[in-house]
Amino acid sequence: MGDASKAGHEPKIIAFACEYCSYTAADLAGSMRLAYPASVRIVKVPCTGRADAIMILKALEEGADAVFVSGCQPGDCHFLKGNARAKAMVPGVKRMLAEIGLHPDRVEFFHVAASQAQRWVEVVEEMTSRARRLGPNPLRTGGGPEYGPAAGSGGGEGDRPAEKGSAS
């Protein structure tokens, strides 16, 4: 995948957002007239504990360029542990992506509280720039493996996983 094809790429990103926090933050961002990339399609979930690995895999299989799960701050889950479970699930999905041949950075978990509209904007911007850097999902473009042993020798800036994706 050459850099030229990445340059004009407008990514499609799926966000599984908890209705008690991140979905409300996205709503608040709208009310506050905060601008953020239109790349994100939000799927409201009753708790990030509902977001399952298979939902993330299916989104990528159908061609999403990146998927993220956004839940309540640690300790603030309406259902006690849903956000912790979702956060624990995401590294497993990253390992699956590496095996499949997709870059693990295409998936991430974030904490965004209902009041953190600005943080929501930053998260969407972060995932959008990440998706742009990685280029279109090769499953959509008919490309080959972009990561792991199946991708051959690897290399290139996009091959190294992000330092740390999830933040407060």
Binding site: D52, A53, I54, E99, I100, G101, P138, L139, E146
Partner: protein
């Protein structure tokens, strides 16, 4: 339950070499409960296989189905329609299910999707520990309900070895000394005197040492 874990995707893809139509078949009993080969895991492997194949330029049509059990003929039979026309099946059951499916649908190519690890208990979310090795001659009545064969690293039958320290086994600080557990349990039960009883050497002929085992219940065969 029988505890297993998913095989690496690359190994599964390699075992499917040449197959164009693949069924991923789950088992709804033990391996579903230990989250290795149930309906949900079947969905995940099918999605993974499908994506990996597309990226590698392989044309593989992946379908999925789950039987209640793969170790019973009646339940295996429920997959007949889904198996039809498939070049290969990835069975996500334990090794028993894989073999029984291969026999039931002979000459169908059946490959395993999981590694069968052990028979164990679910101690907490995402944690299983081996509790039984099916020796065929249960002695739990004499050991306070703690199996020294499965849970002592050396399968000792007459007390701890010199590697027992602070209640832990010398192989790992995370492994309890089974004989410490047995003594503590028997003490709680007020039955430590039973431990001092003479017990003749265990007869292992009921265990794997006698070759593949078979159980025939004449009273159930009619």
């Amino acid at each position: 339950m029988i505890v297993g874990e998913r095989k690496p995707l690359e190994e599964i893809i390699d075992s499917l070499e040449g197959a164009r139509k693949v069924l991923v078949a789950g088992c709804g009993t033990c391996v579903a409960v230990c989250m290795a080969g149930g309906e949900k895991e079947v969905g995940m492997l099918a999605a993974e296989l499908s994506m990996a194949a597309r990226l590698r330029g392989l044309e593989i049509d992946v379908t999925q189905a789950t039987a209640q059990r793969q170790c019973d003929r009646e339940y295996l039979e429920t997959l007949r329609e889904q198996v039809k026309g498939r070049d290969a099946v990835v069975s996500m059951a334990c090794g028993i299910g894989v073999q029984y499916m291969a026999l039931h649908y002979e000459p169908l190519r059946v490959v395993p999707g999981i590694n069968t690890d052990f028979m164990g208990a679910n101690l907490g979310i995402g944690e299983w520990v081996e509790y039984c090795q099916s020796c065929g001659d249960c002695l739990l009545a004499e050991t306070g309900g703690i199996c020294p064969i499965a849970r002592c690293s050396k399968s000792l039958l007459n007390g701890p070895c010199g590697g027992s320290s602070g209640g832990k086994c010398e192989i790992s600080k995370d492994t309890d000394c089974a004989w410490q557990l047995i003594y503590d349990r028997m003490a709680k039960l007020g039955r430590t005197d039973r431990l001092a009883r003479y017990r003749p050497p265990k007869v292992w002929k009921t265990s794997r040492d006698g070759g593949p085992r078979r159980l025939v219940r004449e009273d159930q065969k009619a």
